[in-house]
């Protein structure tokens, strides 16, 4: 055997991504252009973000919707519509089905939601025969959150899909978050399982699940991470709290991943940080065969652009 075998293998051989704008650099370095199908591309924010991604040579784009309307939006925004493939579609449901069909068949690599409601869009994604679900996989959402007050990116789950994850869903969510963090170059992410306190109480079902999850990681049933919980947010992300409280935790106030107990706790967390603390989020649906970009219709062009770059990284 050669000495090479003993070298630690990085998660991937590029530098670590420490801010959302760096995702683009990493994708460009991978030197593979992805094709994005946009379902019902009828809003300026989406087309603007797609335009930027095409211009920056991240993607090729297929815009699905009423051709005339898409062309009108492009003209109004001073965007050259000839750089996109435009596929005519009569309504938002049929546009969603077409975007999913194209991606499933391999004509495109990534699906993006345009000006269609999440329910109609997800119905197309989740269709058992024509959709993009990995069989029996948990459908969830992982976001990469950039906060000026924190020294690195935080991967959070799940602010969008599963209201009250059970134990199996939590395990799957952790797996997705670890996978994403590793793509960003964090080889062994520190995962904090968030609660209101670090104590285990049989009256708090999440603290029960978290304790079980920790033991699963102890026994190698969850890999490639350092994990602890229940932890409150301070113990997860603030070293000072660790020494004050005297809690021994391997996450040590330096979390990369935060698993939240519910959608209703995770969602206000990231929105609060975006509103009041200059936070920025890029996120993706997980559990699908191909990346699916699902964002609120009201998200900014910048956020949508980060999501497109992220989907290319995860493709």
């Amino acid at each position: 055997m050669t000495a090479l075998c003993c070298q630690p293998q990085p998660a991937n051989n590029l530098i670590m991504i420490k801010a959302l704008y760096q995702i683009e650099e990493k994708v460009l370095a991978l030197n593979k252009k992805h094709r994005v199908a946009v379902a019902w591309a009828h809003d300026p924010n989406t087309i603007g973000a797609i335009n930027k991604a095409v211009k920056n040579k991240l993607i090729e784009a297929v815009l699905i919707g009423k051709s005339s309307e898409i062309i009108n939006i492009c003209k109004a925004e001073h965007i050259d519509h000839n750089q996109f493939t435009i596929v005519n579609s009569e309504n938002d449901s049929s546009a969603s089905l077409e975007a999913v069909r194209m991606t499933k068949s391999g004509e495109t690599d990534i699906v993006m939601k345009g000006l269609v409601g999440s329910d109609k869009f997800l119905k197309a994604v989740m269709d058992k025969e024509t959709g993009l679900m990995v069989p029996n996989a948990v459908l969830s959402y992982v976001g990469a959150l950039e906060i000026p007050a924190y020294h690195k990116l935080l991967f959070i789950t799940d602010p969008a899909v599963i209201p009250y994850p059970d134990l199996d869903q939590k395990v799957a969510m952790i797996g997705y978050a670890i996978e994403m963090a590793r793509k960003f170059g964090v080889e062994k992410p520190k995962v904090a399982l968030i609660s209101a306190s670090e104590k285990m109480s049989r009256h708090f079902s999440n603290s029960v699940d978290y304790s079980i999850i920790c033991k699963m990681a102890d026994r190698g049933q969850i890999k490639n991470c350092i994990i602890d919980g229940p932890l409150d947010l301070f113990l997860a992300c603030d070293k000072k709290s660790i020494s004050i409280k005297g809690v021994k935790t391997p996450v040590n106030g330096d979390a990369d991943v935060l698993l939240f107990p519910s959608l209703e706790s995770c969602n206000p967390f990231y929105k609060g940080l975006m509103l009041f603390a200059g936070g920025e989020l890029a996120g993706l649906i997980r559990g699908t065969e191909k990346p699916v970009i699902l964002m609120s219709r009201s998200e900014s062009e910048k956020s949508k652009y980060f999501c497109i770059a992220l989907s290319c990284l995860m493709a």
Partner: protein, 300 residues
Amino acid sequence: MVLKNLNDLKQIVEGRSRKKLVLAAAQDQHSLGAVVKAWKENIIEPILIGDKEGIQNICALNNYDITGLRIIHEPDTEMAVEMAVRMVSSKQADILMKGMVGSSILLKCVLNKEWGLRTGHLLSHFALFEVETYHKVIAVTDVAMNISPNLKDKIAILNNSVDCLNKLGYKMPKVAVLGAVEMVNENMEATLHAALLSKMNQRDQIRNCIIDGPLAFDNAVSLESAQHKGIRSEVAGDTDLLLMPDIEVGNVLYKSLVFFAKAKVASIILGALVPIVLTSRSDSEQAKFDSIMLSAAACK
């Protein structure tokens, strides 16, 4: 300190003032034999309550010299037990021992709300085994008292046992929470309880011990087997205390250790005001003697 064999219990007791042991319904040959022996070896100061004539006959028949031993005559079994329990709750005795009486009658008295030995803790059974094939004694709980303990019960059982081991000189006993496998399996409640108890220990919610589990029996007592499976654990292979998932597993393990591995065993009931020697009427004199030593060592 770690006990290599049951005889090491004697060292704990030596040098302490002798504890008063009250034997309830004392007219029982094995119990008397063990009590007299422990008295002669300065381990305890016995008080016998029961049918005086019966006691004297048994002692004469077996050449037990009881000259100078305090005997209280009470021929009625239930009255004898009540009197013994009252002696303990009024601090006239330090240890309660069951003689020729059913466990249920004795426990009913122990749990009496007015003059019993309640502390608010769950009563649990604690057994110490000396097995030739293990490098030290191993404690096992609960093999005889709690049938199907839930998580709350297991915490109480652990606290009782850890407290007892601390008194025996173990500063941080290593506790293995037993399962059929070392992996967490949602369909096996014992493995889930084990994970929760481990976490509570990490968070100082269960103190003065190191808990790991689930561990399968082989992982708990054999380092080689744990290493073979790649288990990283402070406890594996060096367990001081095994927590059983339920009474069926515990009782079968207890009996297989005794019958197949020729283990020596000492056992007491914990969680009451004082240690209770509640060996089965069919237990050997040796087992009763060792249990008396354990009860004396486990006194405050």
